[in-house]
Symmetry: C2
């Protein structure tokens, strides 16, 4: 007879911990307990099930070899017992027992030698008036997903409001709009999409792209109440307007289910998430926890952070399985790598955003740039947009965020930098990061290297750029004639704009600039621009070498501005 291990919660973390333990220690008696009927499913796949990309909910609960991960699977394939529809109501640590309550109301006590808490998260209750109306869903579990798809498939929805513009909200908006043709509006309380994950420029680029695909956005608005007819939602009232909606998806954040642990006297952190050490042990050495119910240290700040990511849960589950079996594995601090596909583009990142870095007290700035994702002479290529957050005084790289095609090129770059982020790399290491090069895959100077170079130039005081938002402000000054815009591209490229903005947009190709200095307006500040920022930087250096210091370039140039949604 092996030791008794109880695992509370049988989605990603719990299932992985149980299976790993059994592989290392076949004698262990392992019981998985879950309050739901669906277990061991890929929650991140829910938007793709709702969209129809994944035809059947059971696919999210199946192995790659199409075996349903149900009770029978765990028993026959893994020799693990499973108890579903069972709530764990208390952990009696002194007795090393847990108290359970079955669906029929019966309760009992189960003894354990070791316990794993993988209770996950729940959708944050917004306590909005009318939230109990029919047609209002959250995306907290496979059960929710099945209900949403069933409602859509039966044709009940023509207009939808998604509350929250984080991952799930945006993925759901795409699913509703793209696959079901539902007129969808996303309401977000913050002034940008993906707050906390990317900076405002990248956010606006992705938002513009989604708007082109028909999704509407209401940023900086908060939902005041839901109004219904015959018990079903009909309108969403915000602090600024009323939106028609016969379907509402609430995706405004989740919170850890840490109460069971807290009630048992285990230490929890700022949002109720369970605190664990690097071996994923709670403050009770016989109790492990992981996944969406815990806080883990951020690799850059060292502080506990909340990272409810399915991939992290799986890796942490394995570490717990190891430790249960006596193998002292550790789960390293987290950089929070993420990616979200949004129609034909994606947003991804790792580490800190500029805003977060400043809040954490870093002397942070960010540099932005765009460049083709492969050799410029290769027939297929797209622009990629990256932002690098760095500390001015130490030159440490704090984070990276990006946007690019829906393919793997952008996220591949983020993953490479993410691999280093926990090691506190300097800007120079990003400049010299080795990317495999061949024209169908990258440029000889990869965009990430170039991004490091831009940071280096800025930190050394050679480059003086502005971002899209600052350009938009300067544009007013340019139109007033207070600032002069110099287009450093070839004549033909600048000409279109010169004709559109006579007297405002002035083309002087970079290679002619030093010979045409007399054409620059005396005493006026200059904005130097080109297509992606390469030539305008060169022009800036040319001018500064001649003593002209009152000039700025634009991060990513015209390409960046256009992608950002600037109407020039």
């Amino acid at each position: 007879m092996g030791k008794k291990v109880l695992v509370v919660g049988a989605v990603a973390l719990g299932s992985k911990a149980a299976c790993r333990l059994k592989r290392l220690e076949p004698d262990a008696e392992v019981l998985l307990i879950d309050q739901d009927e669906h277990i061991s499913y890929g929650g991140c796949g829910i938007p793709y099930y709702v969209s129809g990309d994944v035809a059947d909910a059971s696919e999210l609960q199946s192995t790659s070899f199409h075996m349903l991960r149900d009770e029978r699977f765990f028993k026959d394939c893994k020799d693990i017992d499973v108890m579903t529809r069972t709530r764990v109501t208390a952990i009696l640590r002194n007795e090393k027992q847990i108290k359970i309550e079955k669906a029929d109301g019966t309760t009992s006590l189960l003894p354990y030698d070791q316990l794993v808490i993988g209770t996950g998260s729940r959708v944050r209750n917004l306590n909005i008036e009318g939230q109990e109306l029919g047609g209002i869903y959250s995306v907290g579990s496979l059960r929710d997903a099945i209900a949403i798809k069933s409602a859509i498939a039966s044709g009940q929805a023509g207009t939808a409001v998604v509350v929250g513009a984080g991952f799930i909200g945006l993925e759901m908006a795409e699913a509703l709009g793209d696959m079901w043709g539902i007129e969808t509006t996303v309401v977000e309380i913050s002034d940008q999409i993906m707050p906390g994950f990317v900076g405002p420029e990248l956010a606006k680029m992705a938002q513009s792209h989604m708007e082109e695909q028909g999704v509407a956005f209401r940023l900086g608005e908060s939902v005041v109440r839901f109004e219904g007819e015959d018990g079903r939602v009909a309108r969403v009232v915000t602090d600024q307007e009323t939106l028609e909606a016969d379907l509402v998806i609430i995706a405004a954040g989740i919170q850890p289910n840490g109460e069971l642990a807290a009630a048992a006297g285990l230490e929890v952190g700022f949002n109720g998430g369970i605190l664990v050490d690097e071996r994923m042990r709670t403050t009770d050495p016989d109790i492990y926890a992981g996944g969406d119910c815990v806080l883990v240290p951020n690799a850059i700040t060292g502080k506990p952070g909340y990272y409810p990511l399915g991939s992290l849960s799986n890796r942490q589950g394995r570490v717990i399985g190891d430790n249960l079996a006596g193998k002292e594995s550790v789960s390293p601090p987290v950089v929070g790598s993420f990616v979200v596909k949004l129609f034909e583009t994606c947003l991804c990142g790792a580490g800190l955003t500029l805003k977060k870095a400043l809040e954490e007290g870093f002397d942070a700035i960010s540099v932005r740039m765009c460049q083709l994702d492969r050799a410029h002479f290769y027939p297929t290529k797209e622009l990629m947009y990256l932002e690098l957050v760095v500390d001015r005084s130490t030159r440490q790289v704090l984070g990276i965020q990006g946007s690019g095609s829906k393919g793997d090129a952008t996220v591949g770059r983020i993953n490479a930098v993410a691999a280093l982020l926990g090691r506190k790399p300097k800007v120079e290491e990003i400049s010299n990061l080795e990317f495999a090069y061949s024209p169908p895959f990258s440029s000889a100077m990869d965009i990430v290297n170039a991004l490091g170079n831009v940071a280096d130039n800025l930190l050394d005081g050679r480059m003086h750029p502005i971002g899209c938002e600052e350009f938009a402000e300067k544009w007013e000054e340019i139109k007033r004639g207070d600032v002069c815009l110099i287009d450093c591209r070839a004549k033909a490229d600048a000409k279109v704009y010169e004709e559109k903005y006579p007297g405002i947009w002035k083309g002087i190709p970079q290679d002619e600039l030093l010979g045409r200095l007399d054409e620059l307006p005396e005493g006026k500040p200059l904005v130097l621009i080109c297509n992606t920022g390469v030539r305008s930087y060169e022009a800036q250096l040319n001018l500064r070498a001649k003593g002209h210091r009152d000039n700025v370039t634009v991060f990513g140039g015209v390409a960046m501005l256009k992608n950002w949604g600037m109407d020039i």
Copy 2:
């Protein structure tokens, strides 16, 4: 008047060093000297120019904004002088002068304060009888490329032989076969393609793929002579056969042009490559060198290695530019990341292959696996194949190689591991590497994490696998009845094979195995197989827990074997 900097060689390294220096120190007087007429071109793009993907050779010599990087460009945009068709015949270090010889035979001396050597590489002279015949080309410069394309375009080639199955050889074979319909055979002296870059399994997978696309291979053969008719090549005679060919591309390795430096008394290494320190200085502190003519330390072995990579040249050029201007930048040791597209697949890697690791004295093994490149329930996905080379005693990861679709997914994984390789990561760090997860981009347990896990299981003695080649040998024993094959997949999957190989191929699904132990043949060794190796590993653990130790699994299972070209 600024200092005089002479740069010998104006392709990747020299141009980049010159431009960077001028950006940092506008006063410097910089002269770029090249023996060729074409300068500053992307040599890695040559196969795409030959194939027709790139229509005009000038595109390889243009900036991303379509400006030809010729003498005028360097003068007007960069304030850099250029001297083409000029050979540098000697460096007079005591006098700080170089001796040059122009195309018209005139010679002169030029003084320098600092000198940069970026003389690149040349195609190794194989000294094969008949190599001077018409129709025989190497791929050493843009000039060569233009000659090849002109020969093809004029319809002179119906059958081609490519000598050498490294990057350039394979890319050229694809270009000839795919775009021009030329019947192409690759002759390689080694017993695999891409020797030194990937192991034999991945090599065979890519070879099988190329064979399906119509490229023929002759491995382990060496060219003895070329035979011609009317001064043009007609046949390639190897040590084993005679091949018809009216076009021959020699791509059998390159060597550094280190002679100029060596003659000046600068230290060179094992293959004549110039030795440089981390700041890219030669043994003369006023002379820098980089790119294809230097040796740089390998990040894993610490020993000087030869890495003629366009991307590295660009990054090194920037480091040289910095140092010329007094900014003390360093170029870190190299892991040699590479990627090559081969029709619909790619090969890529970083660090050491298993063979190289063993040669270097590591107690090395490699683990191989395949897994889908995105969530298994996501509608589009493909199998990816990875190999991880690890040191058994220290658990240090020494290298990674991979094969997958022609897209960015595989190379993205390689780049992420490459970012860490120089930091001597342990297997555990690969298991916990943070990959951004979302179903359209990866699995919750990314293939790289899973690869680390496989290595961990193997190093801990839990997993006992064999590779494709060993399976092919065992297959003979299986057919003789000496070894029993157990297919651990679901009944339906195994059935096809049971019917094809009655009495040899036996299906026992993993979840039924423990209840059917009596069906296993007494005293016979077992080979456990499934589709990718997940269930056969579980079955192996099941059996070993019951005391059955004489069994092995197959890395990557049936999927790997089939991709490798095993006819089962």
